[in-house]
Structures are given as structure tokens and as C-alpha cells.
């Protein structure tokens, strides 16, 4: 695999300045996505993963603001571009796939026109030419009868087809990086697998990098090359997917993996479902030191000190004192 970094995020911090105080939703994260590679950003709801992904395209809305960091992409720091320059990046160089294809598609526009939107914005294609391209894209993402389907409205399609429409729209301008925010969460399990393999095929064909945001470790195991685990706005563990699953170094990652129900052992159903005790701490009063220590089964005295991300093995690091001997 080529190791040419496509996207390098360094120290990205996005805070929300609310009436009740400052929410540090994303608090200094580093991410690297290489060409042709899928990086999974894994975390529970409230961990900051969606805000992080929106921050990359500078789509965070008030009262949220990106307060620090750099997003290096194709030689530029995206955080320093003008809004106009940023518009030229969105869709053309970096495209995004959203979680809920029902709400992410315009209910009053035909899906063909929505797929063509990026082409019309970036390449100035006329309506007719853009529609023809939309039909090609629909065929490419496996929508049967694309000529007729291009004239349909989103509500006339199934969830899986709508997600294919979203993917076609994201692919329309051949982006170098695709950010997929929980692309399969709203879909049936069988459809999930189809969409994931579609994404994987498309990535392979185009050589684009994929940043996959998910809470589902099953999805991660299936398609990711590398994994970054986010907790409380920080990356707590980072490494190649095999390392993460075989030798998870952070108790939070270990907990997440233990939580995945094992379908192959129905006899043992008597055994209680695993879960991580407690919930993500309110961003208004996170514990000082390690943010996971309240829920951590192995917490010890040193956890009141803020841990740092330390390398464990080649390309694998974790933010936990247990790994510092």
C-alpha cells in the first residue's frame, strides 16, 4: 500500500460556545488518511466523531468554532482557505456521505438532479449534460433502471437505494477523499453489507481515501485498514485494524470489542451482554486526568494525570498509563 498521506489532521480542536459554558467536542485530534486507504474513526455517540468530520470541511455551525489545529490536504491547510476556496474543495476534492439518506436528500428535488448538483456547481455542466452524467453515476453505484430512477423523488426509493444516491452524489466529481459519516447505520443489516462492499469497490477503482465514521466495530472489521478510536474528543487509540482487534491497548477499545455480541455462540445466550459501565461523561464536567477513568475497570492512581498518546508497536499507539512501564 502506498503511504502517501492524503489528509493530515493535527491538533484539531472544535469547541461549542454555549450559554452553559464551553463544550470541547473535539479537543486536539490527529488523523492521517492515506491514498487508497480506509481510516475508521470509531466512537460512541457524543464522542465528538461527527463534529470532527464536519470540522474537516468546515461545516460546523454556530455556536461551534474550530479553535485550533491544521487540516492539511493537497498541500493546503484547509483551515486557512477563504470560504470561496473552501467551496471549491467541498464536493470536488473531499465529498461527504451522510448517515440518514432520507433527511440528507432534498425531498422536492428529483434524485438525478441532486446527484448532478456537484457537477453543475464545480464543472458548470448544463442541466441536460449533468443529468446524463447522473444516470451514469447511478448505474455505477448499482441502481437498476437508472434512466427512470433519476426522475424519482427520494421518498419513492428504499433506504438502500437512497444511500446509493448519496454515494453517487458524493462520487460525482471524483473526490480524492470521501468522508462517510455512519453511512450504514440507518440501513438494514443485509443492505449495510451491500453498501459497505460498494464503498470498498468504489474506493479501489478510484484510489480515493476514505474516512469512515462509525460506532459499529463490525463495520470497522469489514472495511477499515486503520482505526482511530475517539473518546471525549480525544484520540485514545490508533493503529492498524488487526492490531486493534488482536491487541487492543486501551481499556476503552477493549470494552468496545467485548461489547460486540457474538452471533456464532447462541448456546451461551445465558451469558449477560457485555457493556461498558456508565456513559460518556458530560462535556461540561469531564474528569481531569484520563477522561475514561470513571468507567475504566483498570483505573489506578496515576489516571488522575492526563495521559499522552504513546507508541506501543509499529503504527500503533494508545493514550493509557497501563502501556507506560
Amino acid at each position: 500500500m502506498t503511504q502517501e498521506a492524503l489528509l493530515e489532521v493535527r491538533g484539531l480542536a472544535t469547541h461549542f460556545f454555549t450559554g452553559q459554558g464551553i463544550v470541547r467536542a473535539v479537543d486536539g485530534i490527529d488523523l492521517t488518511v492515506c491514498r487508497g486507504e480506509t481510516l475508521a474513526l470509531v466512537g460512541e455517540s457524543g464522542s465528538g466523531k461527527s463534529v470532527a468530520s464536519l470540522s474537516l470541511l468546515r461545516l460546523v455551525e454556530e455556536p461551534g468554532r474550530i479553535v485550533a489545529g491544521a487540516v492539511r490536504f493537497a498541500g493546503d491547510d484547509l483551515l486557512r482557505l477563504s470560504e470561496r476556496e473552501m467551496e471549491a474543495v467541498r464536493g470536488a476534492k473531499i465529498a461527504m456521505i451522510f448517515q440518514e439518506p432520507m433527511t440528507a436528500l432534498d425531498p422536492v428535488q428529483r434524485v438525478g438532479d441532486q446527484i448532478a448538483e456537484g457537477l453543475r456547481v464545480h464543472e458548470g455542466l448544463a442541466r441536460r449534460a449533468a443529468r446524463a452524467r447522473a444516470v451514469e453515476l447511478m448505474a455505477r453505484v448499482g441502481i437498476p433502471d437508472p434512466v427512470r430512477r433519476a426522475r424519482a423523488y427520494p421518498h419513492e426509493m428504499s433506504g438502500g437505494m437512497r444511500q446509493r444516491v448519496m454515494i453517487a452524489a458524493a462520487l460525482s466529481c471524483d473526490p480524492d477523499l470521501i468522508i462517510a459519516d455512519e453511512p450504514t447505520t440507518a440501513l438494514d443489516v443485509t443492505v449495510q453489507a451491500q453498501i459497505l462492499s460498494l464503498l470498498d469497490d468504489l474506493k479501489r477503482e478510484s484510489g480515493a481515501g476514505v474516512l469512515l465514521i462509525t460506532h459499529d466495530l463490525g463495520v470497522v472489521a469489514e472495511v477499515a485498514d486503520r482505526v482511530s478510536v475517539i473518546y471525549g474528543g480525544q484520540i485514545v487509540e490508533d493503529g492498524p485494524v488487526e492490531q486493534i482487534f488482536r491487541r487492543p491497548a486501551h481499556p476503552y477499545t477493549q470494552g468496545l470489542i467485548a461489547c460486540v455480541p457474538d452471533v456464532e455462540l447462541p448456546r451461551q445466550r445465558g451469558r449477560a451482554l457485555q457493556s461498558i459501565a456508565g456513559s460518556v461523561p458530560s462535556p461540561f464536567d469531564r474528569p481531569d486526568g484520563c477522561r475514561f477513568r470513571d468507567r475504566c475497570p483498570s483505573a489506578f492512581a496515576r489516571c488522575t494525570e492526563e495521559p499522552v498518546l504513546v507508541p506501543i508497536a509499529n503504527g500503533h499507539s494508545a493514550r493509557c498509563w497501563l502501556n507506560v512501564r
Binding site: L57, L59, R84, E87, A88, V89, R90, G91, A92, A95, M96, F98, E100, T103, A104, L105, D106, P107, V108, Q109, E117, G118, V121, H122, Y153, H155, M166, A169, A170, S172, C173
Partner: protein, 281 residues
């Protein structure tokens, strides 16, 4: 599931039934407004001195007014004023209100607040009194009438457009369009305006009936079109003096006004269902 589909189908037929009844009537009114000379039996200003305040007869189907003019012909010619003034006023209101509402939502901050509070003040003005004052100072020619009525109804459009813009902007499909590289102008044209279209059209249809009523009221009071040009409200205004000798001349223009407003409202309802692709299509 099946019975629900059947219900929906019946519902749709009921809706279209209303349209089937209403559209020939509105087409007739439109022809009256555009080509009155083609269907009116008499010149609306022609005086038949032998028939003054006549009840409906075979020569004057709807009777005559106080100086012997044919009521039917005057109603036909009056459609142009009643419908034309109202339509133009709604166009003025819509073209002022919608851009203001959308732009204000984009401005944000204090300016947004200031403008929308000013709009609220406009909404709370008693329209007929404001219209009387404006027309008294500026005189009652047609453009002034149109502009006055338009100005009185633009705040409703501004408020609706402002609220819709705020709600549509926060929807995920707008975020998705931004993530595809669309700028604000594109977003307004392709996402925000199409998504508020059905609401604005319904607003316009109701405003059209209000505007017709207001025009009729002002003409009734003698502030609308200048006689002898007929309008429905003005006819009622002049003929009300003879209500007790002969009620017919008042009844017919009132009926024309009533039926037209009813038809416009039914059309508005139908459009509302029809324009929402999730319901009709």
C-alpha cells in the same frame, strides 16, 4: 395498508373533484377579466333609460343599476379590476416579502431582529385604515391601489419566508449540498426557494382572497377605482342605497365576489396538496 391506500385514492379524487368544479368557474372569471368585450352583452357604461333598477329580465339578465346600466356587463368588466388589482398586489407583496424574509434570515444578528420586529409592526397595522389614509393622500389611481394593498400584505410573506428559510437551512440536505460545494446563492435558489414554494403558493392564494376583499372594501368606500369604471366592491357600494327598493343589483356583484374568493381558496388548498411531492406528485 390496502384500506389506507384506498382512502388516499378516495381523498385524491375528492380533492380533484373540487378542482373540477372550481376551475371552469375561475377560467370564466379569467376570461371576463381578460376579454370582457367578447362576452359582455352590453357596453358597461351604456345607459338604458327605460330600465332603471330593473330586476332580472330577459333583456338584462341580472337587472340594471340606478342609471340603467346592465349589471351583468358591469360584473364582467369589473372582474378585471377585482382580479387584476388583487393579483398585482399579491405579486408586489410576494416579490417584496420573500426576498426580504430570505435575506433577513441570512443576515442574522441584530439587523435580523430589527427588520423582523419592523415587519411585525406592519402586520399589526389595521389594514383598511392604513389603506384609507394612504389613498386619501396619494389619490386612488390603480397603481397606487395595487401598491398600497401589496405593501399591506408583504409582511406575511416576509414572515413566512423568514421562518421557512431558518428551518430549511438547518436541514441536513442543505448541509449535504454545502458539503458538495454549493455556495449561498446556489443554496437559496436550489434548496431553500424550491422547498418553500408550496407554502408561498398557498400563502399567495389566501392573500389573493384577502386582497380581493380589501380592494372591494376600498372600492365600496369610494377609494378604489374611479367611476364610471366598474369594480365589484364599488358596485355594491353605490347600489347599497337602493337595497330596500331593489336588492338584486347588490346581490349579484356580492355573489361574484364571494364565489371567486371561495374558488381561489379551494384552488389554494388543492395546490398545497398537489405541490407536495410526498403527498401527491
Amino acid at each position: 395498508m390496502r384500506s389506507m391506500t384506498a382512502k388516499l385514492v378516495r381523498h385524491a379524487q375528492g380533492r380533484n373533484l373540487a378542482l373540477v368544479v372550481v376551475s371552469p368557474y375561475l377560467a370564466l372569471i379569467a376570461i371576463m377579466a381578460v376579454l370582457p368585450e367578447a362576452i359582455a352583452p352590453y357596453d358597461p357604461l351604456a345607459i338604458d333609460a327605460s330600465n332603471i333598477l330593473a330586476p332580472p329580465t330577459s333583456t338584462h339578465l341580472l337587472g340594471t343599476d340606478e342609471i340603467g346600466r346592465d349589471i351583468l356587463s358591469r360584473i364582467i368588466y369589473g372582474a378585471r379590476v377585482s382580479l387584476g388589482v388583487a393579483l398585482a398586489a399579491v405579486a408586489v407583496a410576494c416579490l417584496l416579502g420573500v426576498p426580504l424574509g430570505v435575506a433577513t434570515s441570512y443576515l442574522g444578528g441584530r439587523l435580523e431582529n430589527a427588520i423582523m420586529r419592523a415587519v411585525d409592526v406592519f402586520v399589526s397595522l389595521p389594514e383598511i385604515f392604513v389603506a384609507i389614509v394612504v389613498l386619501a393622500f396619494l389619490g386612488g389611481d390603480l397603481p397606487t391601489l395595487v401598491f398600497t394593498i401589496g405593501l399591506l400584505y408583504f409582511p406575511q410573506f416576509a414572515k413566512v419566508a423568514h421562518g421557512m428559510t431558518a428551518s430549511i437551512r438547518s436541514r441536513e440536505h442543505v448541509l449535504a449540498a454545502v458539503s458538495l460545494g454549493a455556495g449561498p446563492v446556489w443554496i437559496i435558489w436550489r434548496e431553500i426557494l424550491p422547498n418553500m414554494r408550496s407554502v408561498i403558493i398557498v400563502q399567495a392564494s389566501f392573500t389573493l382572497s384577502f386582497a380581493m376583499l380589501l380592494e372591494a372594501g376600498l372600492s365600496f368606500l369610494g377609494l378604489g377605482v374611479t367611476p364610471p369604471q366598474p369594480s365589484w366592491g364599488q358596485m355594491v357600494g353605490t347600489l347599497k342605497d337602493y337595497l330596500f327598493t331593489n336588492p338584486w343589483p347588490v346581490v349579484f356583484p356580492s355573489l361574484a365576489l364571494f364565489l371567486t374568493i371561495l374558488a381561489v381558496n379551494i384552488l389554494g388548498d388543492w395546490l398545497q396538496d398537489r405541490l407536495n411531492p410526498e403527498l401527491g406528485g
